[in-house]
Symmetry: C2
Subunit: 370 residues, 2 copies
């Protein structure tokens, strides 16, 4: 065995997305102790940058030291207790995973299931909440990575709030790619991933919790079942202005990288980042349509950063993806769940969202599908 | 806010330890998709290298995508179910944390508590197991990072096995620094951390599980309460030879770094690494004694890689550590728990375990304490 030197790829799958040299350089800076004053200052700055990205004033805004699926679990295990009822909206893999998490902490999930490729219906949520008066929280995915659908987070949250429910939102693929307003939309708990539109290395999950959520966590009847994800403990470590209490050893270098990727987002500006994702998505749409490919999702709620395309008749899924990878160094994503073998997922996230990548992707596909 | 450029430190605390340029370079290589064939090959190689480090043939040997405390939780939530009884040996902070994890998954902990700075008594374990015949597992810390004590893992496991118990061992600070034989000692579940004697960046937790442990996990009555740490699911992702089933997005770059640090360990050879830790520890001991400092732990079970030193009378804990950091760029660890304010922890782990670091540490302390 010897030192691993990867062949470089263009990452246009569902994540990780291309990581810029600037972020990789930050990642490789000398490791500090996790209680070093320099690092504590960096944690504070990272919190501020995350508040910018999430568009929130929430003091509890930080990064869980594990991937997005641990961020999901952190939101659910801290807010849900045995016996609680949660409405979970499912229109893809990640909604299913939320339900699984609710069940594993002893909660009961009332499921609103929509077709793959369709949005969760706000009317259906309204009906379900009118029919059930003991619902503690409503959970849904903002940008479904498995289908490329944008759910109407603002409207779903407004309905949930009218019924006095907490709102738990998966923003793994939305953060930094499309509009997301934690405070204005009244999102109580939200998690994301470092490796999507932030174009940082995979392994971290930015999260944010409202004061309402914190109040619920502080007044729990049962201890949080996960020690590692217990916010009552993590707060002492990430909480601003307090003396840091050791909880776990933060992934120091990964946080250098997250800080750098968030700086880049701040420099570009959120609105500009959203516009870029939209524009580059339009370019991709034109290109894909020019070679006869079609989208699996209606234009009205299509995600610019995650394009789900129907595999054309006669094309062999694995062969095409294999050729793109081997002949062109291009990664696109396979279909997941019900879309396996039926769709491809083309990511345009963060640093990967450029006209150059679109041209490369469309021309490579044209060549391979010819 | 601007790009973060840390001032370089010498990391001689309880971890993270100094990370070599070679590992940092590996870390910064271009990110691959986590299902890229190149990366899957790297996961397989990393498994082999971890089997070498752990001295095991266990097929389930991999890295949890989160820090050591998540590794601890992974071992306990997968093996323990509500109603199970676990003997937890406590002689420091991390034993207490194991107990906390047992309780949070509905288990009952029978605690064997020893003084801080002392070993867990094998006789006491024998007595407790003779008095209780319903014990499912015995859990203890091999190298207590909070006290600098080595517990007699071989003997404690032998006793546990005579009573038909599973063995769960914390090897966060021992892996790569002192002898650890998973198979020979009959350890069923073991977790470590990347940032100690492996001198990789913090954020990963190598784990290994015996066939016996796997059998127990497969035959559980209740689902594992953590979705993120459920080995039944993770197995499909890391399991050798199988088609990879997506579970979470692996922290790709951190695994490049782990692979490189394990390669370095293999190149040096485990026995040579242990000898180096012993020899350099002797050099440190001589140096510290030459300036009048004394150890908190008896020589017979002192860890070479984590030296717990009594703070001399008249020295102010925070002032001394602050001056070491600011004047000499040297990080040593504060005391933890009962040792807070009473002891310092000087790490000699992995790449930080060199005569140069010892000289720097002793001379810096001589200067500051003068």
């Amino acid at each position: 065995m010897s030192t691993f030197i990867p062949q470089q790829r263009t990452l246009m799958g569902p994540g990780p997305s291309d990581v810029s040299a600037r972020v990789l350089n930050a990642l490789a800076r000398p490791t500090l102790g996790h209680l070093d004053p320099q690092f504590i200052e960096l944690m504070d700055q990272t919190g501020d940058l995350l508040r910018y990205a999430f568009n929130t004033q929430n003091s509890l805004t930080m990064s869980i030291s594990a991937p997005g699926s641990a961020g999901m679990e952190a939101c659910i295990v801290n807010l849900i207790e045995p016996g609680d009822t949660v409405v979970v909206c499912i229109n893809g893999v990640f909604g299913m995973r939320m339900k699984e998490n609710v069940t594993r902490c002893g909660g009961t999930a009332i499921v609103i299931e929509s077709e793959w490729g369709e949005q969760t219906s706000p009317e259906e949520l309204e009906n379900v909440l009118q029919a059930n008066d003991n619902v503690k929280a409503v959970a849904f995915v903002h940008a479904e990575t498995s289908t490329g659908v944008r759910n109407d987070a603002q409207r779903l949250c407004a309905i949930a709030k009218q019924h006095g429910c907490l709102t738990i939102v998966d923003a793994v693929t939305s953060l930094g790619g499309i509009e997301l307003n934690i405070d204005e939309w009244q999102i109580d708990a939200c998690y994301s991933g470092s490796q999507k539109c932030l174009s940082c290395v995979p392994g971290l999950s930015p999260v944010t919790f409202s004061e309402t959520a914190l109040e619920v966590i502080r007044n729990r009847q049962h201890p949080v079942q996960s020690w590692f994800l217990d916010l009552n403990l993590i707060l002492g470590y990430w909480g601003a202005g307090t003396k840091r209490a050791y909880h776990h050893t933060a992934p120091v270098n990964s946080i250098y990288a997250l800080h750098e990727s968030l700086l880049m987002l701040q420099e570009e500006g959120l609105e500009n980042a959203f516009t870029r994702h939209k524009k580059v998505h339009e370019l991709l749409r034109e290109g894909l349509e020019s070679i006869g490919l079609t989208f699996a999702v209606d234009e009205a709620y299509r995600l610019p950063q995650l394009n789900v395309i129907l595999i054309p008749e006669g094309a062999d899924d694995a062969t095409v993806r294999g050729r793109l990878l081997n002949e062109f160094g291009l990664e696109i994503g396979a279909g997941l769940g019900k879309f396996a073998g039926k769709a491809w997922r083309i990511g345009l996230m963060g640093s990967a969202c450029t006209p150059r990548n679109v041209h490369h992707c469309v021309e490579s596909l044209r060549h391979v599908l010819a």
